[in-house]
Amino acid sequence: MSIRDLLSPFSAWKNILRDPVTIPDPLNDRPGSDRYRGFHQNDNEKCIGCGTCEAICQNGAIDMLPVDSVATKEGDSGLRPRIDYGRCCWCALCVDVCMTGSLTMSNEYKWVESDPDAFRFTPGVDKKFWDNSELGYKRPEEHRLVSPERIEMREMNVESRIDSFAEIVHGYSIEEAQLEADRCVACGLCIATCPTHMSIPDYINAVREGDYEQGLRLLYETNPFSNVCGRVCTRKCESACASRHEGEPIAIRWLKRHIIDQIPHEKYREIIGDPEPSTGKKVAIIGAGPAGLTAAFDLVRKGHEVIVYEAKAAAGGMTRYGIPEYRLPYDALDRDIETIVSMGVQIVYNTRIGADIPMQQLTQDFDAVLLAIGLQEGRQTRIPNSDHEKVYRAVDLLDKITAGEEFHLPHCAVIIGGGNVAMDIARSIARLQKQQYGQVDVVLTAMEEQQHFMADPDEIKEALEEGIIIQDQCGPQGCEIDQSGKLIGLKTWKVLSIFDSEKRFAPVYDNGDETIHACDTVIEAIGQFSDISLLGDELTEKLEWNRGRIQIDSDGRTSESWLWSAGDCVNGPDVVHAVADGHRVAASIHCYITAD
């Protein structure tokens, strides 16, 4: 024991002169740090109500509830997170996972209230004094709990695909598909946007679990054209995907295709199950496209006898005669059709109603008739000299290519149009040119600016890769013909603007900015219409019409009680819309014919 040990402790006395270190007014003098995890903030303009915050909250502190100020619309559930601070542990996983970045935290932690229920509120909706606080925890940019990038789809490269009609997209491997499926937060926002309301999160879950039979079963509940839609769907669902806000949307279309690819076709029938017993009712369907065959599929499953009349030699409608093979191989389409036929649907080919069988006969022989004739005829520009024999309609040429019919392959083609059909014909011609002439010479002109083309951005990108020249903002003015009557080019004027303030068509040209696109062939791909001559004058007169289309009710039924209409001829071109339509009319027809 040293003397130091006795004296040293007295050094504590020096503190007698020290100022207190406590904060005198902590409620005001002690804000949370810059990245403090305090009460939540939610930007309701950005929030889409996907509920991922609720899903990740391990305390069960978050409820998703409708709020008055937000309407439910495509891509926004209209729900907003309400937080129970009796359970919240301030871990901020909800902020980290938030798909839009709308949910953040303020640095506010000093809030006193005598009513405990006040600590259960909806940030951003129930106004709080920290709502506009700049400080507090915001997710750092690179801190991502859900991968923002989609798994890249392997495709044929340009060199190997340009002279071939082989399918470009390879499809995901099981590992790739599961990684992509893992990115899905299963919020289900996409379901409302899908015209046929496919149970997307469920079938993506089936991919994740590797339960492909369940996946196929789910697909067939809402879509008997999954081979087709897994390849060429317009995938509106992806535009409603929660992942698109801070990254790329889930590759929903490719995941659908992946399920299809995993199941051997001979097992489809067994997985889907048998139709119900026969009802003795008969339905005639005109047109074996997606709408007609979807309706047929639904109706035979209900036990009705269905006969589909198809004017062409094969079924599929535009999916066969419009969409090129490199996007949708015929065998994939055939698998969908075979499955439908295997359920008992009868298809009568090469039979045109109105010409081969009169419409009246159908009304006599069947309990109901569905008109699903699509949009088979190409619109013409009717610009000067467009009646020249080397001016074609894109749909006619695509039809010839599918049917294997001979036609004069242009050495140099100019396409008019900026939609998917224009891309289809441009890329098909390019392939044939490469095969036969060794080089591609296709110019695509359209009135819109390239970023506003109706065509899928992937199509534009791939078309450019394949050597197709795109001349946007070109309004066609006439076809140029030399003295010998030979087509030598297309004259266009520069388009200054296309739409007026109401988004209606009102093109403005600069007629001083004229271009002659030299070519030996012009192909028009501006629009389509349906040939309704099969109805006959009497029925045409009897039916109610609405601006050039047969008037139908919300079930697709026309003003004649026995006649329904569905698909592109009603909605305009879109495969998955046609499928949705097929279901809708099938349900309505089923109700009608089983009513008594």
Partner: protein, 166 residues
Amino acid sequence: MADSISGKEKLQACTTLREILEQATEFERTARDFYAELAPKVSKKIRYLLDELVIEEQAHYDLFTDLADKPEVAEQIKLEIMTPPNNKRFSDCIQLPELGDKPDDQSILQYALGREQAAMDQYNSLAESAPEGPIKDVFTFLAQEETEHKNELEKIYYEVVHSGGV
């Protein structure tokens, strides 16, 4: 358009506002009757186009009639022509088709567009040749009216022909 030449001559001969408007009204009436007569002949599918054209021409007819009946018309017209519409000339439509007995929707629209274009050109050139004053104002006004009508038709044309914008 055969009758438009004589129409122009007829109009040039008019000397009062009232006469001009009456003549213009007469043109609208002829057009209205033309569309009304054609309507039952075409497929019911596209009859709506003709029905709409009849309504449009009727509206013009009524407008011009009303104007001719009002004394303060000159002042009104002056006000109207302060804001001339932009002529969005949609040139793939100026080729006038021969309208047979069974025209399709595109032909009907092209015909109607061509007709409006012709009328517009005609009133414009009359306005140019007329001396400053109320007559010139009326022609300018009529040209404007036809331009607006044509612009509206062009929108319909696009919506019909570029169906679904494929």
